[in-house]
């Protein structure tokens, strides 16, 4: 009994309580890489800290462009959540490009093994295939072109735009015009019908070019602009959280010489006026 009492007493002198499981402690990361912004915002929580968020956390955040190898450092800031609590938001200056791959890493200061990371891959733009160019109504001179964004799918963010880069040969100025278009889904991808004649006539009118002047305007580029967002998130390794992305895409295509002739445009596609 005395021995038991002594044992109980000795253990009773120690009143310390350590609730933490041993091992590395990681982070919670949440973010959406946004190709529309020059600075990315990533929310970071230290899992070891509880919900009482301190002014500073022992964390360093970097984003590595896996294509170019460029590394961008994040800068910590505090934000107030909708319930009045706080959270840490890291601001990282880098551009998100279609076709890019990025590695987000958060490392505990002084503990390089306590690292949480996520890899986010942004897909490349969809390729364009011209299906057919035809007059609608027949013999009306109104050219329509039906193109397919191969493997394209919905949803998209915002409208799809047809964008023309046109040079006024008289003034030498470059102008950009955009026209919204609806898309339809098909087994091959997204299908668009583009009213080429109507759109070019709008451009002529806007620039004050006579309808029959087929040397006044040079087409430098035509492309489809659309914005996509991730439908699935990228998980965080050695931590919790998720990442998404949202980026504008551009899928150009080339109008053939016959079409350009019918539209009364000089071919400057491929990077400049033809000599």
């Amino acid at each position: 009994m005395l021995g038991l009492l002594a044992t109980l007493l000795m253990s009773g002198c120690d009143n310390a309580f350590d609730p933490d499981a041993p091992g590395d402690h990681y982070f919670a990361l949440y973010g959406v890489l946004d190709g529309r912004r020059a600075t990315q915002q990533i929310r970071v929580e230290d899992l070891a800290v509880s919900l009482n968020v301190p002014d500073q956390i022992d964390a360093q955040l970097t984003v590595r462009d896996l294509g170019s190898g460029e590394v961008s450092d994040g800068r910590d800031s505090l934000i107030t959540l909708d319930d009045g609590e706080r959270s840490h938001l890291f601001l990282v200056p880098f551009l998100v490009q279609p076709g890019g791959a990025y590695e987000v890493e958060v490392t505990r200061l002084g503990e390089p093994t306590s690292m949480s990371s996520a890899r986010i891959t942004v897909p490349s733009p969809w390729a364009v295939r011209v299906n057919t160019t035809f007059e609608q109504p027949p013999d009306s001179g109104q050219l329509l072109q039906r193109i397919v964004l191969l493997d394209g799918s919905l949803p998209l963010v915002g409208p799809v735009m047809i964008e023309y880069d046109v040079q006024h040969r008289g003034t030498g100025e470059l102008h950009q015009f955009s026209f919204p278009r609806d898309v339809l889904t098909s087994t091959e991808g997204l299908v668009l019908s583009i009213e080429l004649t109507e759109q070019v006539e709008s451009i002529r009118e806007a620039l004050g070019v006579a309808p029959d002047d087929d040397q006044a305007l040079a087409l430098e580029r035509v492309a489809i602009h659309y914005t996509r967002a991730s439908t699935e998130t990228s998980p965080v390794q050695q931590g919790v959280g998720a990442f998404g992305w949202i980026t504008p895409f551009e899928s150009p295509w080339v109008l053939d010489a016959e079409t350009l002739a019918l539209l009364g445009l000089v071919d400057a596609q491929g990077g400049g006026l033809g000599l």
Partner: protein
């Protein structure tokens, strides 16, 4: 039981012996006296005797015809003496009323040590047992006695939950005059729903209970309250920092009908900060009433009612985050009749109980639970010489209503059960055997009949030395789910066991020795095993987990008194393991060692009491981390300020960590001032006298350690008037 143990009985020698039966009561209050000695002395010095049971009833069987000197005695009462002639085969009913004598604090002479009769697993608590324990106020409470017991664990001084020999709080059956209480303890752990003033006695079965109790698999606390004085009015009032209390009892129809009324209400939430320097966000109280009608010397009717309320926050403020509240409302009525010419008794009772609770955590949706039960029992007791057979039929319906995302759609919302049991008691020379069997029927759930055999036996080889064994099978049809990993979450969901799942079941084996060591000391040792199966637990994000368990333990107790001094030592070792899809582990209430030392001095008008308890720490699940989970990422960035959903990450292997050990010293001192018609008691106490920061629980989302109560000095006053 109707027949008391024959402490002094001698072997019957003659044909057609006579039998003497009766009830011994307090002449003023008509309260039955338990343990009164009834002695028949013949001219040839042959003696026959018995001690009264919990109902004050005695039976002296197998008495040869002849003339005897009858003596009935009980400590604190004038002895009753008479002579009587018993004829061959006569059965005489002889009720006895003893007149109390004024109690003296000094010079009380005990001519003979009271017999040790408590069989294994049973702790019989009487008001005198409260007198040795320090309490934070002058009134005392059943909780102070219960928490002293070696096999009883309370995880903290808040929350109102007791674990008895490895069983969960929801596996304890707590009855007050037959009223079933689903949460019998207040949010401040010093207090139960039963103040000392109203307790006549309480039987606490830590295991191995007989067939008359069912519906729970761990323990039974059966409280019988005072009946009130049928001769004069009595009252008391007390004030102390924790609560105020008022008690009144007296005659409604002198000599026939009496009442008891008691009310307690906490004041600690108002006084805590100003008097003790820190907030105590707890509010609780209880209200009790009883009417007792003595219809004849062997028949009575009684009706009781009890209402309790509790609210508070184990962390935070009274009305702020983590607010919990609950209430009990219960009532019962009982009719008991023992015909004077028949060796039998009729015992009919009905009861109703309603328990409501709600919990508003800081993070997460509000939860609510309600259980309503009503039922009745019809029992017949048959006396067969020195033996007794009780045959009973009972029925109960429980209705559940709960709001909790973790269990929605998983549990039954009503249970109806029928019960039939046979509980017997056979008295031989030195052996007492109590076999019984209980049948439970579940018509609302189409379950097969549950058959629950029970056996209790005691052997007294020499006087005041008893060896006893109890074994039994137990089942319960209701579940009480509390978050197992979060000690601070004391909210409980009550519901029926889902159809298709087996009922929680336990098999108990208890064996022990109790004995007197000289005239002034007694000791006991008791070992137990409980095999558990089918229990339901709520474990974090794993939801409802069905588990089996094994409990093994050993309780040691010893007490001694010398003059004005009394000392008690209790030690309990208990090992509980659970096995389920989480693995094999020790649950949080598995506190392997508990040691309690109690000392009291009664010197003149002064009473000094001390209690020191030590307990080993218990298991807990370690924390990996916490964060705010975002369920969707809006491309436009609105998620950046979304508060999210708080998530606690815990270690995949649960209950690996260990909390610190616990020890606490409580002291109290009283000075009694006796006046002609009143008694004034000044009470002072120190709870946690050396201010040890004992760990209670850890709020992981806030990284906040909550300790048990610090040093609390109290000063109280009690006035008793008669």
């Amino acid at each position: 039981m109707l027949v008391s143990s024959g402490v002094f009985a001698q072997e019957a020698r003659f044909a057609d012996p006579a039998r003497l039966v009766g009830v011994v009561r307090d002449a003023e209050s008509s309260a039955p006296l338990t343990g009164a000695a009834v002695l028949l002395a013949a001219a040839d010095s042959m003696t026959y005797g018995a001690a009264t049971d919990e109902r004050g009833q005695y039976t002296i069987a197998a008495v040869p015809s002849g003339r005897y000197a009858l003596t009935v005695s009980f400590l604190g009462y004038e002895p009753f003496r008479d002579s009587l002639m018993l004829r061959e085969g006569e059965e005489r009913a002889l009720p006895v009323a003893l007149s109390p004598v004024p109690a003296e604090l000094t010079g009380v002479t005990v001519e003979a040590a009271p017999p040790v009769t408590s069989p294994v697993g049973l702790i019989r608590v009487r008001p005198a047992d409260f007198a040795i324990l320090p309490t934070p106020d002058p009134t005392g409470d059943l909780a102070s006695v219960l928490t002293l017991q070696p096999g009883v664990v309370n995880l903290g001084d808040r929350g109102g939950e007791l674990y008895v020999r490895g069983g969960l709080p929801t596996e304890n059956l707590v009855l007050v005059d037959g009223m079933r209480l689903f949460r019998p303890f207040h949010i401040v752990g010093f207090y139960s729903a039963v103040p000392t003033d109203i307790i006549q006695y309480a039987d606490v079965y830590a295991g191995g209970f007989g067939a008359r109790y069912g519906g729970r698999i761990s323990s039974v606390v059966d409280v019988t309250t005072q009946t009130g004085s049928k001769q004069r009015f009595r009252g008391s009032a007390s004030v102390a920092p924790f609560l105020t209390a008022v008690h009144v009892d007296g005659p409604l129809a002198p000599g026939h009908v009496s009442f008891v009324a008691s009310a307690r209400e906490s004041v600690i939430e108002r006084l805590g900060e100003s008097v003790l320097g820190e907030p105590f966000p707890y509010r609780f109280g209880d209200l009790f009433g009883k009417v007792h009608a003595r219809l004849s010397p062997t028949a009575f009717f009684t009706a009781s009612g009890l209402v309790t309320h509790d609210e508070g926050a184990l962390s935070g403020t009274l009305t702020g985050e983590n607010h919990i509240e609950w209430s009990n409302a219960a009532g019962a009525a009982r009719f008991f009749y023992m015909p004077p010419t028949l060796a039998s008794a009729l015992d009919v009772s009905i009861s109703y109980s309603d328990y409501t609770s709600s919990f508003a955590p800081e993070f997460g949706p509000e939860r609510a639970s309600r259980v309503t039960s009503f039922g009745g029992e019809f029992a017949l007791d048959y006396l067969l010489g020195a033996h007794e057979v009780r045959l009973a039929f009972a029925g109960q319906t429980l209705l559940f209503d709960f709001t909790s995302a973790e269990v929605e759609g998983l549990l039954e919302d009503n249970v109806t059960e029928g019960t039939a049991y046979v509980d017997t008691r056979f008295e031989f020379d030195r052996v007492q055997i109590e076999p019984g069997i209980r049948f439970q029927f579940f018509p609302s759930q189409a379950r097969s009949v549950s058959i629950e055999p029970r056996l209790r036996t005691a052997w007294t080889p020499v006087r005041d030395q008893t060896i006893s064994v109890a074994v039994g099978r137990y089942r319960q049809e209701v579940l009480g789910l509390s978050e197992l990993q979060d000690i601070g979450d004391v909210f409980t969901i009550w519901a029926g066991v889902p159809a298709g799942r087996p009922l929680p079941t336990a098999v108990h084996l208890v064996a022990g020795w109790q004995g007197r060591l000289g005239a002034r000391a007694q000791a006991g040792v008791e070992g137990y095993i409980k095999d558990l199966s089918g229990m339901a637990l709520l474990v974090g994000d794993r939801g409802v987990v069905y588990t089996d368990g094994l409990v093994r333990g050993l309780d040691l107790r010893a007490s001694a008194e010398r003059g004005v001094l009394r000392g008690d030592v209790v030690y309990g070792y208990s090992a509980t393991t659970y096995t389920d899809n989480l693995g094999t582990y020790r649950p949080p209430h598995d506190r392997r060692h508990r040691l309690g030392l109690v000392g009291s001095i009664e010197a003149g008008q002064w009473r000094l009491r001390a209690r020191w308890q030590v307990a080993a720490g218990g298991p807990f699940t370690r924390i990996v981390g916490s964060y705010r989970a975002l369920d969707s990422l809006d491309p436009d960035g609105e998620f950046l300020t979304d508060p999210g959903r708080p998530v606690l990450l815990t270690e995949s292997t649960p209950f690996v960590g260990r909390t610190p050990s616990y020890h606490r010293l409580d002291l109290s001192v009283e000075r009694v001032f006796a006046f002609r018609a009143a008694t004034l008691t000044l009470h002072g106490s120190l709870v946690n006298a050396y201010d040890r920061p004992n760990f209670f629980y850890y709020d992981a989302l806030r990284a906040n350690r909550i300790d048990q109560f610090p040093l609390i000095p109290t000063l109280g006053l009690r006035v008793e008037v008669e």
